[in-house]
Amino acid sequence: MTAIPTLALSIGWGTTLAIKTLIILAIIPLGALILGYVFLLKMMSHMQSRLGPMDPGGFHGWYQLVGDGLKFLQKEDIMPAQSDRRVFAAAPAVVVLSTFLVFLVIPVGPDLVDKSLNVGVFYALAVSSLSVIGVLMAGWASANKYALLGALRAAAQLIAYELPLLLAVVGVVIQAGTLSLQGIVLSQQHGAIFGFGGLGQPFILTQFFGFALFLVAAQAELTQTPFDMPVAESELVAGYMVEYTGFRFLFFFIGEFGTAFGFAAIAATLFLGGWALPGVHGTWADILGPGVLFIKLMAVAFLMFWVRFTYPRLREDQLQALAWKVLIPLGLANILLTGVFKVAF
C-alpha cells in the first residue's frame, strides 16, 4: 500500500518491506525524542520552573537532549550479580518490540499505511499489551525487591486499565462499523454534523466520553503520573527499571515515549480524524497526511503530558478502584448508548 499510484512507483515487495521496516525503526526513536524534548524537557521546565534543562547550549537549552543521549551511551553496562542474565537482557527488547508492532497499522495518508489490517485497532491494542511481559521480565530478572514490586504494580495496573481502553474504543468501532484504522479515518472524513459535511465528523464530537476514557486509560497504560506507581521514585526508586543503566535504560525510555507517541497517534486517528483534513483529497492528502496527523497527535500528547506534569500520584488502591468501579462501568454505559443511537438513527 505504500506505493503512491499517481507517482507510478513500482518496487518489489522485498524493497518495500525493507523501506517500511526502516521507516518504522526510525519513527520510534524519533517520536520518543520529539516527545522527550518538547514535553519532558521544555514544557515541564516551563510549568514547574525547572531551570536546568533550559540552560545547556544557549537557546532554550537545545543541547540538553544531545548531552543526555551521549551520557547514556558512555555509561557502563551493569548487570546485578544475582540477576538472570538472559531474561534481564531480553526484557528491554520485548518492550521496544511491542512499541514497534503498534506502529505498523497507523495510517498517515489514503495510500500511506505500513500494513493495512482488517482488524487494525484491535491488533494495535493486542500488541501493546505485550509490553507487560517485558516489564515483568525486567522486574523479576533484576533480583531486586524494588524492581519486583514495581513490576507487580505495573502488571496489576496494565491489566486493570486494558479493559477501559478496549471499551473506550468499542464506541468508535460501533459508530464507524469497522475495526480498520483506515476505515475509521474514512468514515470520519465522509461523515456529517447534522447534515453539514464540510468538516466531516470527527468522532470526538459524538464519542467525547470515549475520548476521555481512552485518554485516562492510555495515561495509566503508559504509567505516567498520576498513574506512575510502578516507577514511583519516592517509594520504589525507579520500579522495574531500577537496575538498568546506559543503553538498556535508554531502550526502556524509548519504549515508554515511543508508546506514548503511538497511543497519541491512535487517539488522533480514532477521535480527531487522523490524517484527514477538510477539503484535501487524493495525492495532496498523501503529501499533507503525515504532517496533519503529527499536529493532531502532538495536540493529544500535549493533553497527556499536561496532566502528567500537573497532578500528584494516586494511591495503589485508589488506582484499582478508579479502573474497576468508575472507568469500566462508564465504558460499558458508553457502548450501550452508542449501540442505542446506532440502531435508532
Binding site: Q82, D84, V87, L117, N118, V119, F122, Y123, L125, A126, V127, S129, L130, V132, I133, L136, M137, G139, W140, A143, L148, A151, L152, A155, A156, L158, I159, E162, L179
Partner: protein
C-alpha cells in the same frame, strides 16, 4: 502453497521445542516465558490459516492476560531466582507419561476422523470467513446458545472465585 508448508514447519518445530522447554525448565518463571513462545506460535498458525481476528484474540487474551496472570501469581507468591528442580519435579512422571500418550492418541484419532483427507484451499472466500464481521455474525446468529452458556459458566466461575477469596 509451499510457503505455507515451510512456515508451518518452522513454527511447529519452534513451538514443539518451546513446549519441551516449558516442562523441562528448572525455573518456573522460565517455564512461563517458554509458554509465551508456544502461544505466540499458535497465533502465527492462526494467521497462516487466514484467521486474523482469532490470531490477535490469542495474542491479547493468552499472552497479554493469561501468561501475565501466571507470572503475576508466581512473582506475588514465590518469585524464585534460582533453579529449583526439587519443587518442580514430581515422582508420578510415569503416570503422567501414560496420560500424555493417551491424550495424544485421542487427539490424533479425533482430528484424523474429523478432518482426515480434507484440504484447505486458500481463496478470498476463506479470508472473508476469518474476518471479524463474519466471526461476530457466526457467534451471535449460529452459535448464540453455546456462547450464552459459556458466558454463564464464566460468570459462575467469577462469582465462585470472589466467594472463595472473600472471607468476611
Amino acid at each position: 502453497m509451499w510457503e505455507q508448508q515451510v512456515a508451518f514447519w518452522v513454527l511447529a518445530v519452534a513451538m514443539a521445542a518451546a513446549a519441551i522447554g516449558v516442562v523441562r525448565s528448572r525455573n518456573i518463571v522460565h517455564a512461563a516465558l517458554f509458554l509465551v513462545v508456544v502461544l505466540a506460535g499458535a497465533a502465527a498458525q492462526y494467521i497462516l490459516l487466514a484467521a486474523e481476528f482469532v490470531a490477535w484474540v490469542q495474542v491479547l487474551i493468552y499472552i497479554g492476560a493469561v501468561v501475565v496472570l501466571f507470572l503475576f501469581g508466581i512473582m506475588l507468591t514465590r518469585a524464585p531466582m534460582h533453579d529449583d528442580a526439587g519443587a518442580l519435579d514430581n515422582d508420578q512422571r510415569w503416570g503422567g507419561l501414560v496420560v500424555a500418550l493417551f491424550v495424544l492418541g485421542v487427539l490424533i484419532a479425533l482430528l484424523v476422523n474429523a478432518f482426515g483427507g480434507k484440504k484447505i484451499h486458500f481463496s478470498n472466500a476463506l479470508v472473508s470467513l476469518g474476518r471479524t464481521s463474519h466471526v461476530g455474525t457466526d457467534i451471535f446468529r449460529v452459535f448464540v446458545v453455546p456462547f450464552e452458556v459459556v458466558s454463564m459458566l464464566l460468570l459462575a466461575a467469577l462469582v465462585g472465585a470472589v466467594v472463595l477469596a472473600r472471607k468476611d
